[in-house]
């Protein structure tokens, strides 16, 4: 599936919920289900400073694709992180650079990506794109 197809799937999953509490409950559930990040990656270098909720992001570049693992100490943020990983992990730099996480807006949780929210999510998206940009440069240099 393409990034966009996965996003559409998420949007459809959330579309069924009328009540905001159900949406948040699902995010909390996703957060709870998420496998914890390996402790060796839960280090300061991987910490995305988002003020209130902390997000750790680790990546590896394998066969032209970037795989991400991440975690947050806040459950709602963790749920959103899980969705971001579902979309962006295992993609080529090109794919990551050319798609925006529009699903967050469309499932009605836009406020979580606003720069005024100090939850680290926006910073996480930026960081993933920075990695993509860096690897894209490396791969074009090598070619």
């Amino acid at each position: 599936m393409t990034i966009d197809e996965i996003q559409q799937e998420i949007i459809d999953d959330f579309a069924g919920f009328e009540d905001w509490m159900d949406k948040y409950s699902l995010l909390i559930e996703l957060g709870n289900e998420m496998a914890p990040i390996d402790v060796q990656y839960k280090v300061d270098e991987n910490l995305i400073r988002g003020c209130q909720s902390r997000v750790w992001l680790h990546q590896e570049y394998i066969d032209g694709k970037i795989s991400f693992v991440a975690e947050s100490d806040a459950l709602i943020v963790k749920g959103l992180v899980a969705l971001l990983l579902k979309i962006y992990s295992g993609r080529t730099p090109q794919e990551i650079l050319t798609s925006e996480p529009r699903f967050i807006d469309e499932i009605g949780l836009r406020q979580h990506l606003s720069p005024t929210r100090s939850n680290g999510l926006l910073a996480m998206v930026k960081q993933m794109k920075l990695y993509a940009l860096a690897y894209e440069k490396i791969s074009t240099k090598n070619n």
């Binding site: 948040y24 003020c51 100490d73 806040a74 709602i76 943020v77």
Partner: protein, 405 residues
């Protein structure tokens, strides 16, 4: 003078709103309080009819503005019962007031090897300016700790005050723990050893009537925006004997007596410390807020605030897994807590969905977070315009949200 909550709430139309489809419950008063229409109208009227720069011209608007600004100073003086208006300096808020003292008092009186005492429960605004000054001067910052209940370990204070101690800076009310500190005792102990005391009144002034002469504090700092007044306004009260000896903080217009390129002589207090065009609209608004407060029966206001705090504490204590931070015998306005297994950020986000505004995070008090070994807290804080029903709504919301985790 009276205290009629229904009528009082009419003075705060901002409270009568829906947020995320729910009736707003504003419990973030320690961060900033709401302003009554009397304050907003006074500031609007001034801006619509009178604006002119103060102390600088002979035209009518300038004169009227100067008059209003100096009237505001007198209202503050009278509210604090300061000995003279010259001891009232208008600043942009508590932070600037403390920085002013740390800088100017520090320059005049603090030398290498000297000591300054702060407490473990200070807001960063009453730590960092002292730290910066100590670094500049090669002085040492000593810290008075607090105990498990969140009360200052007063018994340790006497031992902490040495011949090198030049000033003690302590908060009146903790913005995290809600503790009302025994500032009169602290001041008395300090004065026995000739050490002056600065009180950070950011959270104290909104709840208590301060008499700086009875209290005998050397400095008292507070912000307008936490006292039902506008942002960007604030006060530093200082005893003349200190202010006269302190060099200016900022240089510029109004604070000078005569400038030549060789040497500048400075104006008298308070102008010496009010460089540049001050936020006179803010000062006028702050004075209007004080007048508003003075129109209420303070005893009843305080009693209602205490009832809110007590009711909230009793209710929240019944919630399983909820820890309250700060259980001092004397508290005011603030109730901070965590619920086991729920990140404050999540709780704050969900409460907002229910129209309830609280503060979450580190509350500008890292040392308190470290003391309790937590990363964040949730803080609810109450003002006299809050109702018991709102506390009940808050409690019910916590119960409901807790079930989601």
């Amino acid at each position: 003078m009276s205290f009629d909550l229904l009528n009082i709430r009419k003075d705060f139309p901002i409270l009568d709103q829906k947020v995320n489809g729910k009736s707003l419950v504003y419990l973030d008063n320690a961060a900033t309080s709401q302003r009554p229409v009397q304050v907003i109208e006074r500031m609007n009227e001034f801006s619509l009819k009178t604006n002119g720069n103060i102390h600088r011209a002979t035209h009518t608007f300038a004169n009227k503005t100067t008059e209003a600004f100096e009237q505001a100073r007198e209202i503050v003086r009278s509210h604090l019962n300061a000995a003279e208006t010259a001891e009232i300096i208008f600043t942009h808020g508590t932070t600037e007031s403390i920085n002013l003292v740390a800088h100017s008092f520090g320059n005049a009186f603090i030398h290498e090897g000297d000591e300054v005492i702060v407490t473990e429960m200070e807001h960063h605004a009453n730590i960092v300016p002292w730290q910066m000054m100590c670094e500049r001067k090669g002085a040492k910052l000593n810290v008075l700790p607090f105990n498990a209940k969140g009360e200052l370990s007063i018994d340790l204070l006497d031992g902490l005050i040495t011949e090198k101690t030049k000033i003690i800076a302590v908060t009146h009310v903790s913005n995290v723990l809600g503790t009302v500190n025994p500032i009169a005792t602290i001041i008395e102990m300090a004065h026995l050893k000739n050490v002056p005391v600065l009180i950070d009144g950011a959270q104290g002034a909104p709840h208590f009537q301060i008499d700086v002469q009875t209290l005998d504090c050397d400095f008292y700092a507070f912000s307008g925006h936490k006292l039902y007044g506008p942002t960007g306004s604030g006060v530093l009260y200082g005893k003349r004997k200190w202010l006269d000896q302190m060099p200016p903080f900022l240089g510029g217009g109004e604070m000078i007596d005569r400038v030549t390129f060789g040497k500048t002589t400075f104006n008298e207090i308070p102008y010496k410390f009010e460089a540049g065009t001050p936020n006179y609209v803010g000062a006028i608004g702050l004075a209007a807020a004080i007048s508003y407060l003075e129109s209420l029966d303070h005893t009843l206001v305080l009693k209602h605030e205490q009832n809110l705090l007590q009711f909230a504490s009793e209710k929240l204590k019944t919630i399983n897994g909820l820890t309250i931070y700060g259980e001092a015998n004397e508290k005011a306005g603030v109730l901070s807590f965590n619920i086991e297994g729920i990140h404050p950020f999540d709780l704050g986000t969900l409460l907002d969905q229910l129209g309830i505004a609280v503060r979450t995070g580190r509350l500008c008090a890292d040392p308190i977070m470290d003391h309790f070994e937590v990363e964040n807290m949730v803080r609810s804080s109450f003002a006299f315009y809050n109702t018991m029903e709102e506390v009940e709504v808050f409690y019910q919301a916590l119960i409901r949200l807790k079930a989601m985790f």
